[in-house]
């Protein structure tokens, strides 16, 4: 036990944390944490906790998880407390990874979350495909990898070429994707053996970036 009390985990371990918010469907991609954890353990020596945790976005628990994963399909409206905590979290150096589970530029999640991010943090900027995020562990020469949903023409029938971000002190504070990685990574880790290319490698980059920058 450390200074955080009974819920705390060893400080040296990386614990994958999913943000729980009051509006919308925060738990729409329940298999993603296990798959990301599997990728971290598979490719790195990072000490990673075998199970993820769920952190209420309005709680102080958020500050114990400097990387937070947030996703959903439905419209999002953060409460004042959630907005306040998110802003402080990013100011202090946390990284909030938000993924649109719809992969739809006109979808309710996309429209509402972009508005909420603008309200809380300011306007998102396009992350250049040469950003160090794309070479923090694996190299993605062409920027963010396309998802099978984009390639199959689902959702808005677009391949989104870039990720968006809010930058603080030269570091990514909010990383926003509407490429639908939540669908792409939502399968049991055991099934990776059926893939010719592991599509969770980019998740490793996000985690390594969060842990080192």
């Amino acid at each position: 036990m450390n200074g955080f009390g009974p819920t705390a985990l060893p400080a040296a371990s990386f614990v994958f944390a999913t943000a729980q918010y009051e509006s919308g469907d925060w738990d729409s991609a329940p298999l993603v944490p296990a798959n990301v954890i599997d990728a971290i353990a598979r490719y790195t020596t990072i000490s990673v906790a075998p199970q993820g945790i769920i952190v209420p976005l309005a709680s102080e628990e958020v500050f114990r998880s400097p990387l937070l994963y947030l996703t959903g399909h439905l419209p999002v409206r953060f409460t004042p407390k959630e907005s306040e905590v998110m802003l402080e979290y990013v100011k202090r150096g946390g990284l909030l990874f938000i993924d649109d589970h719809n992969h739809d530029i006109d979808g309710p999640f996309h429209r509402s979350i972009v508005e909420e991010i603008r309200r809380i943090f300011g306007a998102l900027v396009q992350l250049p495909n040469t950003h160090e995020l794309f070479r923090s562990f694996f190299k993605f020469e062409n920027g963010p990898p396309a998802t099978s949903h984009e390639l199959n023409g689902w959702g808005d029938n677009l391949v989104h070429e870039h990720l968006m971000a809010i930058l603080r002190n030269g570091r990514i504070g909010v990383l926003y994707s509407n490429k639908d990685y939540s669908s792409e990574w939502s399968y049991h880790p055991e099934n990776k053996k059926f893939l010719s290319v592991d599509n969770t490698k980019f998740a490793v980059n996000i985690v390594v970036y969060a842990l080192t920058r």
């Binding site: 036990m1 450390n2 200074g3 400080a11 040296a12």
Partner: protein, 472 residues
């Protein structure tokens, strides 16, 4: 002198003449009286000289020094002229003698002339030190030592910098810039120190595993202005770097920070770096690595959890996990953990010299929690904490070139200027009581000259008055 009347002047003119004659008589009497007193004074001085031929000449330094304060050189000249020799000097110090007078007293002593002194100085003990901060933001630390509750003002060549009141024997202030020398004035004494050249700040090299401690340590140092290079051990034979880290070397790095066992392969190079003058910070889990051997300033005990809710208190470090350090005999304790302040044998941060370098060991781990989960202001406090640890160890030689590109000179302080009263004690030894028999040399000479001048002026005025009214 009889009054001679040439004609019958009007009654008003006659009254003026009578008044003028009375004034002339008064001037004459004053002149004679002054001459008489001067003669008596000189004869007494001559008698005194013969009676106390070996008595010390007293040199008095008043409590309020001024530009016309007596110089010991004048006293020596007078003594040699009037007495033929300077046999002994006693300093009656009501304030600290000037640099020149201290040097002259030392010279007299070196020439075999007994020199003693009586300390009658109130609040004269003051010493000042000016240090360039080892911090990317630059700045200077002005430190003064003086008795408790003494108001001290700092000035440089541009005027007043700041004022403080001492506690526990001293006080300090941090300022961004100083111009020329810094004078610390406390009551009747002033100590002066020249600001050294700014420190040369080089990069910081951090060894860490990918994790929150490494990430936020690097962030804190970078946000404070340090140029940081990082080597993260992230996989089998995989290293993620920030910057272009190379083997530790004092020409490139001011300090190396080791946070965990990822530093293991680099310990031999770090040891050489420290021995050649580099600064090393060993913190958190890295303090348990026995491979550091004699570099570690102390031995850590078992890890103890932080106090729940401790981060929200006035002493947030108690909320962090730590390993109590038992310092080695030659280590200096920099900080204790307030939870166990009564246990003097353990510390939280210790330091020691290792070769030509310095090693700082910090017992705390998971310090990032302070930044993320602490109260308002903890981000700044976390930055300052890491910067202070690095500064305490860092290798930062003085710059040889100033901002204007010119070579920075060496210290120009006269000996003892930084602690003038201590300098008097070193030069003259312990204070002694005032001798029973002394010669008040410079005071009597001035008095005699004044009397003679007064007599001359009175006689001149009396003569001029007589001649102007037509008398002989």
């Amino acid at each position: 002198m009889p009054l001679r009347v040439e004609s019958s002047p009007p009654s008003g003119a006659l009254a003026n003449v009578v008044m003028r004659v009375r004034i002339e008589r008064a001037l004459r009497l004053t002149a004679f009286a002054a001459l008489a007193v001067a003669l008596v004074s000189v004869s007494e001085a001559l008698r005194g000289t013969s009676a106390s031929a070996n008595a010390p000449v007293v040199f008095r330094v008043d409590s309020v020094p001024s530009n016309d304060s007596p110089s010991l050189l004048g006293l020596i000249n007078t003594s040699l002229r009037d007495r033929g020799a300077l046999r002994a000097v006693h300093l009656a110090a009501f304030s600290v003698p000037s640099d020149t007078n201290r040097a002259l007293l030392t010279a007299a002593r070196s020439a075999g002339i007994p020199v003693s002194w009586t300390d009658s100085i109130k609040g004269g003990a003051v010493a000042v030190e000016v240090r360039a901060l080892i911090d990317p933001k630059g700045g200077y630390s002005l430190r003064v030592a003086a008795p408790n509750i003494t108001p001290v003002s700092f000035r440089d060549s541009l005027g007043l910098i700041d004022s403080v009141t001492t506690a526990n024997g001293g006080a300090s202030v941090v300022v961004g810039r100083v111009a020329g020398s810094v004078a610390a004035s406390a009551r009747s004494a002033t100590a002066v120190a020249t600001a050294p050249a700014p420190a040369t700040i080089r990069r910081i090299l951090v060894f860490a595993e990918p994790g929150w401690e490494g990430k936020f340590t690097v962030a804190a140092l970078e946000e404070r202005g340090w140029d940081v290079e990082v080597r993260y051990a992230i996989g089998k034979n995989v290293t993620v770097t920030q910057g272009a880290p190379v083997a530790p070397d004092t020409s490139r790095y001011s300090a190396v920070v080791a946070l965990d066992s990822s530093v293991l392969p680099h310990i031999p190079a770090i040891r050489r770096y420290a021995q050649s003058g580099g600064g090393v910070v060993i913190a958190g889990a890295a303090t348990t690595l026995r491979e550091f051997g004699a570099m570690l300033p102390g031995r850590v005990g078992d890890r103890q959890p932080g106090v729940p809710g401790g981060l929200e208190t006035d002493t947030p470090l108690v909320g962090l996990g730590w390993r109590p350090i038992t310092p080695d005999s030659d280590a200096a304790i920099i900080a204790r953990n307030s939870r166990v302040a009564a246990r003097k044998s353990v510390a939280a941060v210790v330091a020691r010299r290792f070769g030509a370098g310095r090693v700082v060991e910090s017992a705390y781990d998971g310090v990032w929690e302070w930044r993320m989960a602490g109260p308002d202001g903890s981000v700044d406090a976390h930055r300052a904490w890491w910067s202070s640890l690095v500064s305490a160890a860092a290798y930062a030689p003085e710059q040889s070139l100033g901002a204007d590109g010119k070579e920075v000179g060496q210290f120009s302080d006269a000996p003892g200027r930084t602690a003038p009263l201590a300098d008097v004690m070193v030069r003259l030894g312990r204070s002694t009581p005032m001798p029973a028999s002394t010669v008040q040399m410079h005071r009597s000479v001035n008095w005699d000259v004044s009397l003679a001048m007064l007599a001359m002026l009175c006689l001149l005025a009396e003569w001029a008055s007589r001649r102007l009214r037509g008398a002989k």
